[in-house]
């Protein structure tokens, strides 16, 4: 990789308040020490140390010395690490990630970052790396890879402000962040690592993967396997960005999200997985499934977020938390199943969206505006994967993908509009004739029949196995022209209750035994 390709000056102009000069070849002592130690730890496979340096030292140094400038160039630090090719690729990956996070990368830098990922992944795919890296780092690689792809597509679609130079560069490097490239890399990582077979064999007791958190204790490398694993989440994410929810979920199938696993070992990955899983299920109208998973992760975040306050991912965690509350609100408004929601989550929900939820249950224009608002806030940043035709007039079309998904979502909401009205009546009556209900709802009987059938159709979704599942908390059936209402009772969990009380009583008895009576 030639050093001359980096246009530092250009990049800095947009991001520095006058006067700070950046010399890419100057390596301050702390950085020297950082790379030397990191290199040594990677060579010696001290995963714990690597993790500390990666998670903490890198960010401390960034905060202290590189708030507004990039880290020293890889060429400058290479001499301290034996010019190790792989280490340089890793360093560069971190370099670009820092750039994206703190500064605004130029088009050239975006393209170069793509080149770096290609080189890095190719090295991994050729099976020649001899390292153990912390799962956090490996997750961040996949996460950042997809993020930069999404960001590039958004950038590319904003044609209005493009200069001649930019367009020439885009034409020349049409392979950079090409959707085929991105998807095929993720697919290749997944396949080459044989992760699906490994997970399968693990179920049969023939392999160890989840038990060791993906790490290889027999002297090998965890890099390909774990990258392959996280690529499944990466594929789910990319497919959601494209609007293909069905395939996204299919890509995630080998991972059992109800179990602890490598995906839950890194909080960023855990949240990203559930967020996209839940969103995909929402768009597939499997509301109960979405509610269940959102509930679980929100409980988890509620209990554990205090431990992540110092971590660099904290902000992201909070952001996703808020977005998932919004998605949960949408799900519960379309499919009221409050008994599926934990107390703590419920009270948070009431606080944030209680009022909005009430208004969303009405079938008027205001409720649409609220669905629009919440969806727009919480949805992924959809992309248009194809490159623009650079010969056509320059317009911004980066919002097109989002607008389409929003439009189709609101279309669905509209079709379900009447359902909440029906529900309010079903809540009150145990039987009611079609004639009467029609007059209350101010529609004719045959319209009422269609509304009731719509209710049935929309509340009974088709599961992944093709079977019909009921999402309705209030159900009914019609006997010719009389509606009989059936309320689904939440099953009383006697078993759990007794178990808890037995253990409690035993503890009390134990305490009493210990009391010595004077």
């Amino acid at each position: 990789m030639s050093a001359g390709g980096y246009d530092y000056e250009e990049g800095l102009q947009s991001s520095i308040d006058g006067g700070i000069s950046y010399d890419p070849s100057f390596v301050p002592d702390p950085v020297k020490s950082f790379v030397v130690h990191l290199y040594r730890h990677i060579r010696e496979k001290n995963v714990y140390e690597i993790h500390q340096m990666y998670e903490t030292s890198f960010h401390t140094l960034s905060d202290r010395m590189f708030k507004d400038t990039p880290w020293p160039s890889v060429e400058a630090v290479a001499q301290y690490v034996d010019n190790d090719h792989v280490f340089c690729l890793l360093y560069r990956e971190m370099w670009y990630r820092h750039l994206y996070a703190r500064l605004s990368p130029t088009l050239k830098q975006k393209i170069d970052s793509w080149d770096n990922y290609c080189s890095l992944f190719q090295v991994v795919l050729h099976g020649v790396v001899n390292m153990q890296l912390p799962n956090q780092w490996l997750w961040d690689m996949v996460d950042e890879f997809v993020y930069q792809f999404q960001s590039f597509c958004q950038y590319r679609a904003k044609m209005k402000s493009k200069t001649e130079q930019d367009i020439a560069l885009l034409r020349q490097h049409d392979q950079a962040w090409n959707v085929y490239g991105v998807l095929n890399f993720l697919q290749a990582l997944m396949e080459k690592s044989s992760i699906i077979q490994i997970l399968q064999q693990e179920k049969e007791g023939l392999e160890q993967f989840t038990a060791t958190d993906g790490y290889d204790y027999s002297g090998g490398s965890n890099v390909l396997k774990v990258l392959g694993y996280f690529s499944m989440v990466g594929l789910l994410r990319v497919h959601c960005l494209l609007g293909d929810y069905q395939t996204g979920l299919k890509c995630l199938l080998p991972i059992d999200i109800s179990q602890q696993g490598v995906s839950t070992s890194v909080i960023g990955s855990h949240i990203a997985t559930v967020y996209h899983y839940g969103f995909a299920n929402l768009m597939l109208r499997r509301y109960v499934e979405a509610i269940r998973e959102f509930n679980k992760i929100l409980v988890y975040i509620y209990k554990t977020k205090q431990y992540h306050q110092k971590s660099p991912q904290y902000e992201q965690i909070l952001k996703k938390n808020e977005q998932m509350y919004a998605l949960l609100t949408i799900c519960l408004s379309l499919c009221p199943q409050v008994n599926l929601v934990d107390e703590n989550v419920n009270s948070q929900l009431r606080e944030k969206y209680g009022e909005k939820m009430l208004r969303m249950q009405r079938s008027d224009d205001e409720s649409f505006a609220l669905y629009d608002e919440l969806f727009s806030y919480a949805c992924p940043k959809f992309i248009t994967p194809s490159a623009p035709s650079y010969d056509e007039p320059l317009v911004n079309y980066n919002q097109d993908a989002y607008r389409l998904q929003l439009k189709l979502f609101l279309y669905e909401v509209k079709q379900q509009q009447q359902l909440s009205v029906v529900r309010t009546f079903l809540e009150v009556y145990s039987t009611i004739s079609l004639e009467k209900l029609a007059s209350y709802m101010e529609v004719d009987e045959s319209t009422l029949r269609t509304i009731l059938m719509t209710y049935k159709h929309k509340t009974h979704s088709v599961g992944a196995d093709g079977k019909t599942i009921s999402n309705a908390d209030i159900d009914f059936y019609i006997d010719d022209d009389v509606i009989h209402v059936v309320e689904a009772k939440a099953p009383k969990l006697y078993g759990d209750y007794f178990l808890r009380q037995i253990v409690k009583l035993e503890a009390v008895i134990g305490d009493m035994d210990r009391v010595k009576l004077e």
């Binding site: 030639s2 001359g4 990677i42 060579r43 034996d82 010019n83 190790d84 090719h85 792989v86 080149d115 290609c118 190719q122 099976g127 020649v128 790396v129 001899n130 390292m131 020349q172 392979q175 090409n178 959707v179 085929y180 490239g181 998807l183 095929n184 494209l242 293909d244 929810y245 069905q246 395939t247 597939l284 248009t384 194809s386 389409l404 439009k407 189709l408 079709q415 045959s446 029949r449 269609t450 719509t454 049935k456 159709h457 009974h460 979704s461 088709v462 093709g466 019909t468 009921s470 059936y477 019609i478 010719d480 059936v486 099953p491 969990l493 078993g495 759990d496 178990l499 253990v503 035993e506």
Partner: protein, 266 residues
């Protein structure tokens, strides 16, 4: 050049398993500082020709070369009255990646097939992948309207509109039967007993044909005719007979929870 410590010497690495002939080749061409990464399939070998479309979709879906195969597959689905959502989604994705290659005729067929898959949400899933301006096309607008009627159980309006657009729909054999099946499905969710006229409206069949239809379902699907022929009793299922709903398995307690009280039980 200094030896890379973090990579294993090439000679000690087990040779890459080249089991699949369609393994992606990541070819890197370095040409006067300009880097070009080429992603594509290696030249098809003999055994590749025998891969079915389903296999292609499962193993190598992000590949522009399979687009013609997928298009042929859509036509095959139409003529042999089969259906594959995954293959069709794969094709719609490729159209998304390369909009100039899109064929509205094929997309129309995919959408009609998706309609026939109701109550599954396949139609929406397809729409998510079709750009808005394409959806403005007349025949797609019609299909969207038809889908809307079906989603909101407006069967009367549906059959009217379908009749007006027979030329679009008759391309796909089996359309009518598929929609009738969906209509019966919705009726079965909703009614224990339903009047003949409602059934007639839902499946768009009258008179003698209606008698035959009902007869068939009496013979094969457990329908019962009552009320001097005016009422049809639909087979009992857990949706129109909620008392049949299996009591939730929450009544069973997983073993690991019981272990909590093992110390108590002594």
């Amino acid at each position: 050049m200094a030896r890379d410590v973090l990579t294993v010497q090439a000679s000690t690495v087990a040779s890459e398993s080249a089991t699949k002939p369609h393994t992606l080749s990541l070819v890197q061409k370095e040409h006067s500082g300009r880097r070009k990464i080429k992603m594509g399939r290696e030249a098809p070998s003999q055994s590749q020709m025998s891969y079915t479309v389903e296999q292609l979709v499962a193993v190598n879906p992000y590949n522009p070369d399979i687009l013609p195969d997928l298009e042929n597959y859509v036509n095959e689905q139409v003529s042999s009255q089969t259906y594959s959502l995954n293959a069709n989604l794969c094709l719609l994705r490729l159209y998304q990646f390369e909009p100039e290659r899109m064929s509205t005729q094929i997309v129309s067929r995919i959408l009609i097939k998706a309609l026939m898959a109701m109550p599954a949400p396949d139609f929406s899933l397809c729409l998510f992948l079709i750009p808005e301006r394409v959806q403005m096309d007349e025949q797609f607008k019609t299909l969207i309207v038809l889908s809307h009627y079906l989603e909101t159980a407006k069967f009367c309006q549906f059959w009217d509109e379908a009749a007006k657009n027979r030329h679009i729909l008759e391309v796909v054999p089996g359309f009518e039967q598929a929609i009738q099946e969906y209509a019966v499905h919705v009726l079965s969710l909703t009614y224990q007993k339903v009047s003949r006229s409602v059934v007639a409206e839902a499946i768009n069949v009258e008179g003698v044909s209606l008698d035959k239809f009902i007869e068939q379902h009496v013979a094969n699907s457990g329908w019962v005719v009552e009320g001097k022929g005016k009422l049809v009793s639909l087979p009992r299922n857990e949706f129109n007979h909620p008392e049949l709903k299996r009591t939730s398995s929450a009544q069973s307690i997983p073993l690991d929870r019981i272990t909590r009280i093992f110390p108590v039980l002594g």
